[in-house]
Symmetry: D2
Subunit: 295 residues, 4 copies
């Protein structure tokens, strides 16, 4: 993806600035235009704050038109190729581009119900979600009133645009849009970090589907060189870490049962805050283990 | 199943005694005949010891014929209805009566290879096994020599007959043929046993199949009224306990994330000793848990 | 101590009954007299309930005189030998018979303050207390009003008399007057109970004093043959269990640092409910341990 | 303490160099003289290696004289003021300057026995030791033969001189002479780091003495701003961390017993490797805790 520096955005003429950031807000270059005169921006956070303020300050009619300009989730716009490139990539991140016919129908039913009630499309920052959590969110938000939903729609839009800015613009500061899943493994039988332990991270769906997201192994500190998820929001949903500790204990020569009591240790947990750090370590012996949300 | 008391066996005339215990050893009423004169037996263990001694004392030829009289695992005898009722029930316990065509072929291939090498059928006490562990055992035992396998076959037979005696005869003593899987759940956030926690026990196969064996919930002591497996050998294999702790913490009113960090906690472990007690407790908070093989 | 059976109490003539139970209530044989006619009692609990009811039903003047008949804690009655034998033994249990001059003065100051405010002696069931918790209780109760303190005094008296009945009378039922401290030790490195681990229980005072109450070692189940405290209330206070796990791991041949990371593991906890069961296990490896209030 | 940079040592004339580093080796400026010509040194490790090589390369007689030039531990030299300033400070670090008369006599007895057997003073790098571990080391080394002890004496001298170089010379590299004790505290009831928890570190002696070494409290990450011991060797010995978790749980509003089950949690452990990092965290709820040697 092409990126641009905050410095060059500050130095550009107005039309170049609008050309660079015009599509951050879906089909709404007027937001970039509205803030161009406030340059120079000291930080990326200042750019984001100015743009959200411009949307809030716009006449109600214009804001509503803007909200209505967003594509349906997993909708016809997607199939017809009428979404911005960003929207296409975002909807793919939650698997909305590969729904079964039944799921596609379910999303349409919910979209139609939502539009019938509120007159706007259902907007959600899909990079923060899994298919399951979008469906859950749909159900919760359908119970709201119109004012609450206009507010909710704007909050989701600002999350979407914060992520777009974060990807597009290089600056000294970072927007708080990234979460992390990390782990480490301690061999508490031997009092040292467990090295070379294979670890997988899976995303679990309510319908029983499982999708492996990351596979790695621990380094000499019992940690992984990279977080299992990092540099992006962690989609709200259910995850399973799988720790291959049986192989580790066989390797370090601890006496074991045959087959060993523990082979692969699964740890299932739910992520509720996409921008948070989920550090989920494992303290293991051949006969016991403990895990916790750490820091 | 019809049972008989040790006292009445001791009091019966010889032919009645042989009639009662003649089929404990597969197609070999001569074993019961050989020990009838040693009555009265003080304990059931004494009956079992006398019968195993009679087999060991028999001429080599007779012992071999006896071993050869055992049915193939999952073999044609099973399909042709030529096994004793006990054998039928035993093979069903490990799922050998519902093999896929591919698995059936695999067992035949192994049986034939085993017979070709040793001249006897492959005998294993299937009540102590899962399909996976039988296949593993096949592979290990095919590497033995003939003397080791005659010894192994007899040991398996004595395990089979001990289980049959245990089911058939009521006595003051018990043969050591039963294992156990049990658990308890402590809410370490509140310092009390977790009551009403749903628990399931699943048996996991190497091919990804899962079969639920038991479903229950904890009582006021955080234990289950009955062990999850008890009163029988625990088949060698991989198990998963599933603890529904998320519901518990919601019920007792602890503040939780939405969705809660922990919903269902899976604990996977392997059983290697069918006659042992596997006590696998869970100490849990909404954000952490520990498990171990206890006592 | 001489005991008497409930059956013989039920069968005795009135004067023998009063002679047996006349001193359960301090200097108040009239309580036994009042309930003699209600015999036979089906349970020991019924005896206790009848006697407490008799006290509650007595005229206020008589009840007050009765309350005033109790000795001061650690007071002149103690030194002058004017207490009942039960009171002497009870006060000794909390160490009130071996106070330093300074502590003796402190108790006198509090007693005098209490009597000046409420006109009755400070009454507490000392078998449920340590010196520290009595002082804490003094401070809390001095803040009450007179009605609350008459109520509190009676409740303490009924705890005292329940304990006396429990010791004096043999019956099929037991009064709920006993608590327990127990433990067990698991070697989670090896997956078995840790046998032969030396364990001490100490009572800790706020002034830094330490007193060893019990010393034992674990049996083959990793438990102690007897609870560390049992068959009596567990005095409210601070305790330390000391587990000699370093010696255990040296014995079972696990590789250790020199000196080993863990030698003696101290676990300090407070007892707040004297009639409760405090099960405080230890799960240990040479490099880690966990403890919790279990069940 | 005055320090000097490696660069200026490399640039100095020989006599200035020897003047700066002449007392690194006790009463032996010839060691500095022997390496002056090897300058420039790229790293501090290279200085140390050159100096140890010079000692090893010296004639046996000279090396022995050098070894004999070291002061007795806690000896008359100490009391007579005839040690180098470094030796004085080092012996003070292990408390050898404040021995009781009895301990002083014990050290003398051991020193004399050692000298009588080996003809050299007992040399040990006291900054890596407590009084207890020095006595333990004495006992172990008295069992050696003379060759082993000359080797042991040199190794201890090189540890001493590495520490002196580390304190005296500023360089880009660090010698591996420092260990660390650190901790962090997680509130696993709430799933977040425990902030503001008071922590003390005590050094425990075999004779029952206790000395508080550090007192601090956890920051918002549940860690301490500084390690409890850092920037120096961690003396071999027994330590106790004391975590005031009861106050924490009262502060965050978790329901507690009265008094709370856990007040102060003591964790006792032994340090065997003075240059290692001992990370000893606490995972706690109001009713349970776990600790381990982490990383």
């Amino acid at each position: 993806m092409r990126t641009v520096s905050l410095a060059s955005l500050n130095a550009a003429d107005k039309s170049a600035f609008v050309s660079e950031l015009g599509d951050i807000y879906e089909h709404a270059p007027w937001v970039a235009e509205a803030v161009a005169g406030q340059r120079p921006f000291a930080t990326l956070a200042a750019v984001h704050d100015a743009m959200t303020a411009a949307v809030r300050a716009a006449p109600g009619e214009q804001r509503l038109t803007f909200i209505k300009g967003h594509p349906d989730l997993a909708g016809k716009a997607a199939r017809a190729g009428a979404m911005t490139a960003d929207s296409v990539a975002e909807q793919a991140s939650a698997g909305l581009d590969r729904l079964s016919e039944q799921e596609f129908a379910e999303f349409h039913r919910l979209n139609d119900g939502y539009k019938a009630k509120f007159g706007i499309p259902f907007i959600v920052c899909v990079r923060r979600h899994t298919k399951d959590s979008i469906l859950r969110s749909f159900a919760q938000r359908l119970a709201n009133d119109a004012a609450a939903e206009e507010k909710a729609a704007l909050e989701e839009i600002f999350r979407i645009t914060a992520l777009r800015l974060d990807q597009r613009v290089e600056a000294a500061d970072k927007l708080k849009v990234h979460g992390r899943i990390s782990t480490h493994v301690l061999d508490t039988c031997n009092g040292f970090p467990a090295r070379g332990v294979k670890i997988e991270l899976w995303e679990l769906s309510a319908n029983g589907d499982r999708r492996m997201i990351a596979g790695t192994q621990t380094n000499r500190d019992g940690r992984t060189d990279q977080p299992l998820i990092g540099g992006r929001p962690v989609p709200i949903g259910c995850y399973e870490l799988r720790f291959h500790v049986g192989e580790h204990f066989a390797r370090v020569g601890v006496p074991l049962a045959d087959p060993p009591f523990l082979g692969v240790v699964p740890v299932q947990f739910w992520v509720s805050e996409p921008e948070a750090h989920y550090h989920v370590p494992l303290l293991a012996t051949p006969w016991s283990y403990a895990t916790y949300r750490g820091s």
